[in-house]
Symmetry: C2
Subunit: 256 residues, 2 copies
DNA sequence: ACAAAAGTGTTCTGACTACACCCATGG
DNA sequence: CCATGGGTGTAGTCAGAACACTTTTGT
């Protein structure tokens, strides 16, 4: 007797979905001075994948991405940015898919659906991992933050998708203080700098970074943090949402 | 008796295509000191649209874009860049589509196919309009360069797609001398500057522009152009492909 | 000679870099 | 009072902006 996998739990009817089309979400988190990616693991396997899903026939693409992310990880209300659409014919490795599907008691309709060729629209989101607990759905028996720098081999072309996302934020961080989503509400200047160093993959000058960021005028200064360390305690900062929006609209970059 | 429209000419069998998915191409051209967009007009109508088409089930997405562009406009060997995927449920105006389809003698299969909801992957290309003659296919009775600044209302969300493309090159031109595809092989510094002014929608200082571009070291200097004008004749320049590639790889921008 | 446009030079400003210096805190 | 790290100042450098000056060429 094969294992049971409840494909239908979040798929009331495969007929309700657009065929050949899927959505995959890259969610970056920042903790322990490193970037992490939120990844579900296929139930009963060692296959990690991006949280993905399908688009309802009467559903806007952007909404589908938000719904899928919520269904599969519990994450809600994130700012999702469309990244790229991946459409190589061979982007899905059918062998590993077969190996996986054969392991379960899945009806032929679902089998056929799963073996389709899919073109996948990738979305990107960023979140502070401390603000929520990842929830795995019926398709995954785990949903975890894996470190970007030492990812395992993921299914299909998902490593490629993540590489694209990494490249994207490396450029984007120069135009918007990405920390607004990745860091806690209040943070020290050092932690913001460290985030930039991790994303840009290079060291930044401490003094210059501080001055440059403060001159943008998008930060609020708060009380000092008591660290208990044998040194001057740092101030805490938070993003001023209004000023931040103005800055974004201006289109001016920083850190060229 | 309804008019005949040969939908099947470039669609050997609708079954060979992925359903619900389409590709639309934005092709920019530069002439008369302005940007133009290459647009076919639906046969027997006043509906202008982007050159678009469908994806074969066994065809890579990027290849589909290139094939579609060639089939529909005759343009070949262009560098196509994926831009964005448009997926609003209401992005296609069904009313105008019906009005159009009813005009022709189209079988019900094709009718049904055409009325599907489509998610469209948009691609972008740039070309010098003097280097080729647009060819209209069986679906269009014209294929013309229309000026970007005074486009008519196009079908579906095609104006929106073009707006996105315009925005994209406005940013991109700061990182790569886009002129390499839009201008003739040999061009004057003034014409290159004009191109930049048109794309960026602002005036640039003549002296500074010249110095900055030359300092990049991606141009070859040629003989002088004899204009017959009552003034000093300008030099002609061309892009040095090798140096240009190096510059692109460096990731350094210019004109911030 | 003059007009028009190409080509080049000069100055000023402002941003970024590198590094130094002082301040606060706890051991 | 010293080690540690936060916060700020300063000098040098470089790139861009504004604009002036010179050169070429046909009328």
């Amino acid at each position: 007797m094969k294992a049971k996998l409840n494909f239908e739990h979040f798929r009331p009817d495969l007929e309700d979905y657009l065929p050949s089309l899927s959505v995959d979400c890259v969610v970056f988190g920042y903790k322990n001075e490193a970037l992490y990616v939120l990844l579900p693991r296929w139930t009963g396997s060692q296959y990690w994948s991006l949280p993905g899903g399908f688009i309802y026939k009467d559903e806007d693409l952007d909404n589908a991405a938000a719904r899928i992310l919520k269904d599969r990880t519990g994450l809600d209300n994130l700012f999702l940015k469309q990244l790229h659409t991946f459409g190589r014919t061979q982007r899905r490795n059918v062998k590993e898919l077969s190996k996986y599907l054969d392991y379960f008691d899945i009806n032929t309709t679902t089998q056929k659906w799963s073996r389709q060729r899919f073109i996948s629209v990738a979305y990107l989101a960023m979140v502070n991992p401390d603000t929520f607990v990842p929830i795995s759905d019926s398709l995954s028996d785990a949903c975890e933050w894996l470190p970007l720098s030492e990812l395992p081999q993921l299914v299909f072309d998902h490593n490629e998708i993540i590489a694209k996302a990494k490249e994207y934020i490396k450029i984007q961080i120069k135009y918007e203080p990405i920390g607004i989503s990745l860091l806690p509400d209040k943070f020290t200047m050092k932690s913001l700098q460290k985030l930039y160093e991790v994303v840009l993959e290079r060291k930044l000058d401490r003094g210059n970074f501080q001055k440059k960021v403060l001159k943008l005028g998008v930060l609020n200064k708060h009380e000092k943090l008591i660290t208990g360390g044998a040194y001057r305690s740092p101030y805490l900062y938070s993003f001023n949402k209004e000023k931040y929006q103005e800055f974004l609209k201006s289109g001016i970059g920083f850190l060229h």
